[in-house]
Amino acid sequence: MEIRPILSALMRSKVSMILIGLQVALTLAIVCNALFIIGQRLDRMQRPSGMNETDTFWLGSYGFGANYDAKAQQQADLVALRSMPGVVAATSTNSVPMSGGGWGEGLSLQPGQKNSTAQTTLYITGTQGLDAFGFKLVEGRDFRPEEFTFVKFGDQPHPQSIIVSKALADKLFPDSSAIGKQVYSEDKPTTIVGVIERAQQPWMDSDSIEYSTLLPMYMPYGNSTRYLVRAEPGRRDEVMKAVEQKLVEANPSRIVGKVKSIADIRRDAYAEDRAMAIILGAVIIALLAITALGIVGMASFWVAQRTKQIGTRRALGATKADILRYFQTENFIITTLGLIAGGVLAYAFSLWLMHAYQSPRLPWYYVPVGFIALWLLGQLAVLGPAMRASRVPPAVATRNV
């Protein structure tokens, strides 16, 4: 390998080497961190909500007029929804995972506890709640019909029994089963009767996103109620269309709207993450392309500038492969110097992101993988100019122009 003489020749024309090296360094630092952020966003977008998202949708009913009986209408609507063809289950609920809005409360293990043991969201659901959501019961039982109560909007809900997510159960009772245990909300006791495998909170950025609680209650908010409907597999869109008309026909003194599939709710919830991933992806592609073009440009310029020198090397015994190797080695040296600086920069950038945005630390393997990727990119970029150089005939050495 001709590393030493190539390096010492490069040191005589530092500006080009520094410029390309810097470009490689910045590319490595930005690409590593951007890829890590994309990975984080994709992981976040893959988080399961715990519910059936394929066949479910929700909608709102907003009654008006002095004689509107929200409580009676809610029951009538549930009967109507459940009788519709293609509906597997329907329930009333105040919120669904990923919707961005809901209720939260602290649960404690003792009455009068100063700080609650866990913060949970409250899904206030009617009968068929577990089926409509598609939550999977892993311990205990579903609510019994007699456990459902009516609560006036604005009153503090204090049910006798609740169902909690497994994550919340484990948080409250890490060493034993939560079934049959009492917990306290506003110093009022309630008993855990069931544990579901997973139920995400409505808030995507919540620190306790897996801590959820189902309450067996009907609680219209004024004249408004929201329903969650689960259709038979493959019939969601068809049922979504029919539902609105059915409810309006049942009582025209209200507006039925905001019909939205849970799949759409997920899409909206993660729109920002998706946009971030796409933008960062575009930045990565642009950076890699600019770096590759920079290398092609510089190598092409050097080949043109050194045509006579290449011819002389050929005259002195270099084969075409020697010339090809020369330019590839030169590129390898410049890229490696850039990558060493870029590696330091990548970790420094990650540290800054950690301090400024509480981002997790860049895993160590991103930089070595980036090294290999940029080495390959550099070698591919220089291949064209290097092959052009290898085709310079040795007779160029004796031309005096």
Binding site: P5, L316, D322, P394, A397
Partner: protein, 241 residues
């Protein structure tokens, strides 16, 4: 050392074929110092290029130190060039970004010598041209004559059997030219065959033998009586009908 018999070099375009060398025959014996002279465009450089395996020829035969050169592939020609031939160019052709040590090292690396042997050869050849003390200098820090001496050191470092010099004093003033010529004569006296292309009659006169080339042919047949061309053409350029 080298024998070219009825050698031909034709440059073809779609309209015209141009004979750069035509029925060109020459023999150079081991240890000779031959000057090839002729006016501009006579084919001297083409001869030198073919002689140094820098260009291929289109007809005839060429034996270099017992090797039939015809049909050798590019890699074999590169190897042969590296092992048997040392080049001295009119404009020195030193690599400006390498110091003298690394410049002389270039052909040795392609030869595949180990680091210790390369170092010894570089030091020896730079000593031979009187520049051992300036190994770490760059070509731009030297005079033209000194640069040509480095080029000679580079040509000698691989111990070639044949030294090809293309107007070696063409870019030098008379004092420096004299020094370079004396060096070449000394190298020849030590056994290296030298073929020097020049248009300078004074320089040519210092060689043991002169071969004159006009229109791509050897015209001084007294110098090459045994290789008198079989046919002689009137024109170096023939239009294709």
């Amino acid at each position: 050392m080298l024998t070219m018999t009825h050698l031909q070099k034709v440059y073809r375009t779609h309209l015209i074929e141009t004979y750069a060398l035509r029925d060109f025959s020459i023999r150079v014996n081991d240890g000779e110092f031959v000057a090839v002279t002729g006016p501009s465009g006579s084919g001297k450089t083409t001869f030198l290029n073919i002689c140094g395996l820098l260009e291929e020829f289109t007809g005839g035969e060429y034996q270099l130190d017992g090797v039939n050169v015809r049909g050798l592939d590019d890699n074999a020609r590169s190897r042969l060039r590296n092992e048997k031939i040392g080049f001295i160019f009119q404009s020195f052709n030193l690599i400006p970004d390498l110091n003298l040590f690394d410049n002389v090292d270039v052909p040795l690396r392609y030869r595949g010598f180990g680091a210790a042997e390369r170092k010894q050869r570089i030091e020896e050849s730079l000593t031979r041209v009187g520049l051992a003390s300036r190994m770490k200098h760059y070509p731009s820090e030297l005079s033209g004559g000194q640069q040509q001496r480095v080029a000679i050191a580079r040509a000698l470092a691989g111990s070639p059997r044949l030294l090809l010099a293309d107007e070696p004093t063409g870019n030098l003033d008379s004092l420096m030219a004299r020094g370079v010529m004396e060096l070449l004569e000394e190298i020849n006296r030590q056994g290296t065959t030298i073929v020097m292309v020049t248009h300078d009659p004074e320089l040519a006169a210092r060689a043991q033998r002169n071969v004159h080339v006009i229109d791509g042919q050897v015209t001084d047949f007294d110098a090459e009586p045994s290789l008198r061309p079989a046919t002689s053409g009137d024109a170096a350029v023939a239009a294709i009908a």
